[in-house]
């Protein structure tokens, strides 16, 4: 495929839908949480706001214990990540380690804020004239308002937007294809706030310098399609289109969605911007609209509380820092047979060991599963190479080969077989008849590859240092030798000078003693010795 062809296809994103390799048709289980309108839950007694909520480093807190904070006030920031804000007005009660809703399951520094119930906002700085504003100003606003990808990867939005602008992308894809079962927060947002999403799409388009926006939703979201199309029409903006894509897990993955919309693949090790595309979640677009037009920082999000383990599943617009337990209580509590609590969906979500963990920017769903939903832990059997994993792999990898390579430490092979291209969607895990925890192995393997890359670069540095040192020593040795030679030459010269002085003295003496032949001959005799 020529470059021009690729560019043409990328620019036509969404005109046709294409297929991606593998994937699974899963039961949605979404309806159970879509019955009620989304509401803000009553204020909890305490909010626990983790200082690590983005891809990046933990933020340094700006506040200290006892400080009064306002709703929307920045309480921390770290470069290059976005800022973190107080979700309420109240008092900082503590800053200490607490389980922080992270796949690692580790505790980390969190700011505990006790709300005063006043809900007093910090002074907001909206950019109402965004249509004429400088794109750089819009991007700075995203950073100030703490925007990050709400699809789950929480990559800072300002960084992605700036990168897209620098790389001259032409199409913004808004990802509304929520492919994991159970999760319905994006669907509810698209139903309830379509205007906000379309507004955010237009702002993002301006900030990115993109020409088109494609909003991708699943083919079974009829109500959503109507709502979004209506919003697009009433905003009277051209070049924003709503496209329905077939519901096959994981078509909501960035690379798979791009393949579905364009038929193109993002190059290995590359980014969507290589094709002139940028993907953002629909919820991120809505947050952009609020941040720019109202000046509101990101302090709350739509979150799904669902699963057979919850009495009355539903969606909330919950403040960050709200503990899951608080939301579960409003849902009528757990059912008797609840067994596992998962953040995210059943395919890629991670389990938490307590519901004291808080809602963060990345949490789109809290899934309570019952003993009936999850199987008894099955014994792991050896791989029988049935190849089901390869059949369902959306990255067209050979998971069984990777599994063997990782277990045997064949890192070069594992890299050559594309371990880094694994998107950890869990399809292979799900179909494996031997119940091998493949994705866990792949995560371990990727960690090893990263570690090895670091070590390799350290070795390379050490080698270069050693070679430089050798070269330096050699140079110094040569210089020393050079100096020695010079000195020797100088000494020789001196000796010569000395000789010539002597000779002239002799000559003078000879002159003086002319007539006294014996004396001369004696002296010259000594000289010649």
């Amino acid at each position: 495929m020529t470059h021009a062809n690729r560019d043409q296809l990328a620019r036509e994103a969404g005109r046709h839908t294409h297929h991606f390799h593998g994937g699974l048709r899963l039961r949605h289980n979404k309806k159970i949480s879509c019955q009620d309108a989304v509401e803000r839950p009553p204020l909890p007694e305490i909010l626990v706001v983790p200082l690590l909520q983005h891809a990046g480093d933990t933020a340094e807190p700006y506040v200290k214990v006892g400080d009064q904070v306002l709703k929307g006030q920045q309480i921390g920031r770290c470069q290059p990540s976005a800022a973190i804000h107080s979700p309420v007005s109240g008092v900082v009660e503590a800053i200490e380690d607490h389980p922080m809703t992270h796949p690692s399951g580790l505790a980390g520094p969190c700011v505990f804020i006790r709300p005063d119930g006043q809900e007093q906002w910090v002074e907001l700085r909206p950019i109402p004239d965004w249509q004429t504003a400088n794109p750089e100003e819009l991007i700075r606003q995203m950073q100030e308002c703490g925007l990050a990808g709400l699809g789950g990867a929480v990559f800072p939005t300002h960084a992605k937007t700036r990168d897209g602008r620098d790389r001259k992308i032409h199409t913004l894809i808004l990802n509304g294809s929520e492919c994991e079962p159970y999760i319905s927060c994006d669907e509810m947002l698209m139903r309830e706030q379509p205007d906000l999403i379309v507004l955010g799409a237009r702002i993002l388009r301006r900030a990115l310098g993109a020409q088109r926006v494609v909003i991708a939703i699943e083919d079974q979201m009829g109500a959503v399609r109507q709502a979004l199309t209506h919003a697009v029409n009433s905003a009277e903006c051209e070049k924003v289109s709503v496209v329905q894509v077939p519901k096959i897990y994981p078509e909501g993955g960035e690379r798979q969605l791009i393949q579905v919309l364009t038929g193109l693949e993002v190059p290995v090790g590359g980014r969507p911007s290589d094709l002139g595309l940028v993907c953002q979640n629909v919820a991120t677009a809505a947050a952009v609209a609020e941040a720019v037009v109202e000046g509101k920082p990101l302090i709350e999000r739509y979150i799904t509380l669902t699963g057979n383990g919850i009495s009355h599943p539903r969606n909330f617009n919950a403040l960050f820092g709200t503990r899951f337990s608080h939301l579960v209580e409003i849902c009528g509590g757990y059912t008797a047979d609840v067994a596992r609590l998962v953040v995210g969906g059943p395919m890629m979500g991670y389990p938490v060991d307590t519901d004291a963990t808080p809602v963060v920017k990345a949490s789109n769903c809290v899934l309570a599963l019952t003993t009936g939903d999850i199987a008894e832990p099955q014994p792991e059997m050896p791989c029988i190479r049935c190849g089901e994993c390869a059949r369902v792999c959306p990255a067209t990898l050979l998971p069984q080969q990777l599994n063997l390579q990782i277990r045997n430490g064949l890192w070069t092979d594992a890299e050559a077989y594309g371990l880094k291209a694994c998107i950890e969607c869990g399809c292979c895990d799900f179909v494996c008849p031997s119940h091998i925890p493949l994705v866990e192995w792949f995560r371990y393997g990727k960690g090893q590859l990263r570690q090895r890359a670091i070590e390799a670069s350290a070795t390379e540095r050490a080698r270069r240092r050693f070679e430089d040192r050798d070269a330096r020593l050699l140079r110094e040795k040569q210089e020393r030798a050079e100096k020695m030679a010079q000195r020797k030459r100088m000494l020789k010269d001196k000796a010569k000078q000395h000789d010539s002085v002597r000779a002239s003295i002799n000559r003078a003496e000879n002159k003086d003693n002319r007539g006294d032949g014996s004396a001369v001959s004696k002296k010259s005799g000594q000289d010649t010795k």
Partner: protein, 343 residues
């Protein structure tokens, strides 16, 4: 009030299938063929299946014990049973009981467990067991029965049992009166003695395509194979490559010289081609993993089988073909890695 939970890795859904389920579906798919086999050739095959299964499980348990593995998950995975049944389907129904014992010794102990057990074997265990006894006991392994409709003597369950366990045929005249050459044997010896294929096919042991009875058994195996394809226990590449290559390769020979080469469908419906295409060459452990690799693997099985049938010393060559391709599988896999996303 907060609450504690147990954690466990994703995905948080019950697994779709198990190794045992895969193996059970293979066994289920073999049932129609086995019933047809019994219909045409008597109850001997059932006894052979039981014998082989008993020996296979005994050796499996012994090896698991010796290797210090837990018995339960591995005995219950049915992989040894599949090996045993596939082996039993390859041997003459009246073969003496110790044939199964020796074959399963080599299949389970040598070919499977000494290579590391389930999933680690380089060679198809059933074929290893079969080839060992085929080479070691050629006379026993060629004592085939004619279809019941052609049998001169009624040969019931009791007679079958006595023959298998004593090694003696309880009839006057002994082995000679109950056994006969297989269609492939007849064809091979006929062609070698200068007779023409249409003439050879006049023998009553031939049916419409392959051997009388055999072709129907093959049909039922194919039906089971289609069930496995539908259940996605096997992929279509291997069966298609095996059967397609047999037809493609035998057509030119047949067109060039129809008197000394059987027509393509006769090749397909004779011997073990259909069984191999759906059940033996599709063994995932000893086969190829990529789709292109599976096509090459299947074609290789077909080519080697036909070469052995045409020029080799044995009337059929499926077992040798599968074992030879097993050796080539890792190399094929190396050169047929699928292009990954974005590559």
């Amino acid at each position: 009030m907060t609450r504690e939970f147990q954690t466990s890795g994703a995905p948080h859904m019950p697994p779709q299938t198990t190794v045992a389920m895969v193996m059970l579906q293979v066994l289920l798919a073999l049932v129609p063929g086995i019933l047809a086999y019994t219909w045409f050739f008597g109850p001997g095959i059932l006894i052979q299946i039981i014998l082989a299964t008993v020996f296979a499980l005994l050796f499996e348990a012994l090896m698991l014990r010796l290797r210090g593995r837990s018995l339960k998950p591995f005995i219950n995975d049915y992989s040894a049973v599949v090996t045993a049944v596939l082996f039993a389907l390859c041997i003459p129904p009246l073969a003496p009981w110790w044939i199964s014992c020796i074959a399963m010794l080599f299949a389970i102990v040598f070919a499977k467990h000494l290579y590391g057990g389930l999933g680690q074997n380089v060679f198809n265990p059933a074929m290893v067991g079969y080839v060992v006894v085929l080479i070691s006991f050629p006379q026993v392994m060629t004592a085939w029965l004619p279809p019941l409709t052609l049998a001169e003597h009624g040969f019931g369950l009791v007679d079958t049992l006595m023959t298998i366990f004593t090694g003696q045929v309880p009839l006057e005249g002994g082995w000679d009166v109950v056994t006969g050459a297989t269609p492939l044997d007849t064809l091979k010896t006929g062609v070698e003695s200068g007779r023409m294929v249409p003439e050879i096919r006049n023998s009553p042991i031939f049916g419409d395509f392959g051997g009388l009875g055999w072709e129907w058994i093959a049909n039922w195996f194919a039906l089971g194979g289609i069930f496995l394809l539908y259940r996605r226990v096997i992929s279509w590449q291997v069966p298609l490559a095996v059967i397609g290559s047999v037809i493609l390769l035998s057509v030119p020979f047949w067109l060039a010289d129809p008197d000394s080469n059987p027509f393509p469908l006769q090749h397909v419906f004779s011997g073990a081609i259909v069984l191999a295409a759906f059940f033996i060459a599709t063994d995932p452990v000893s086969g190829c993993v990529s789709n292109r690799g599976r096509l090459i693997f299947g074609a290789g099985v077909a080519i080697i089988t036909l070469v052995i049938r045409r020029w080799g010393g044995y009337p059929d060559g499926v077992a040798f073909a599968v074992l030879l391709m097993n050796m080539a599988a890792p190399l094929i896999d190396r050169y047929t890695r699928p292009r990954m996303y974005g590559e």
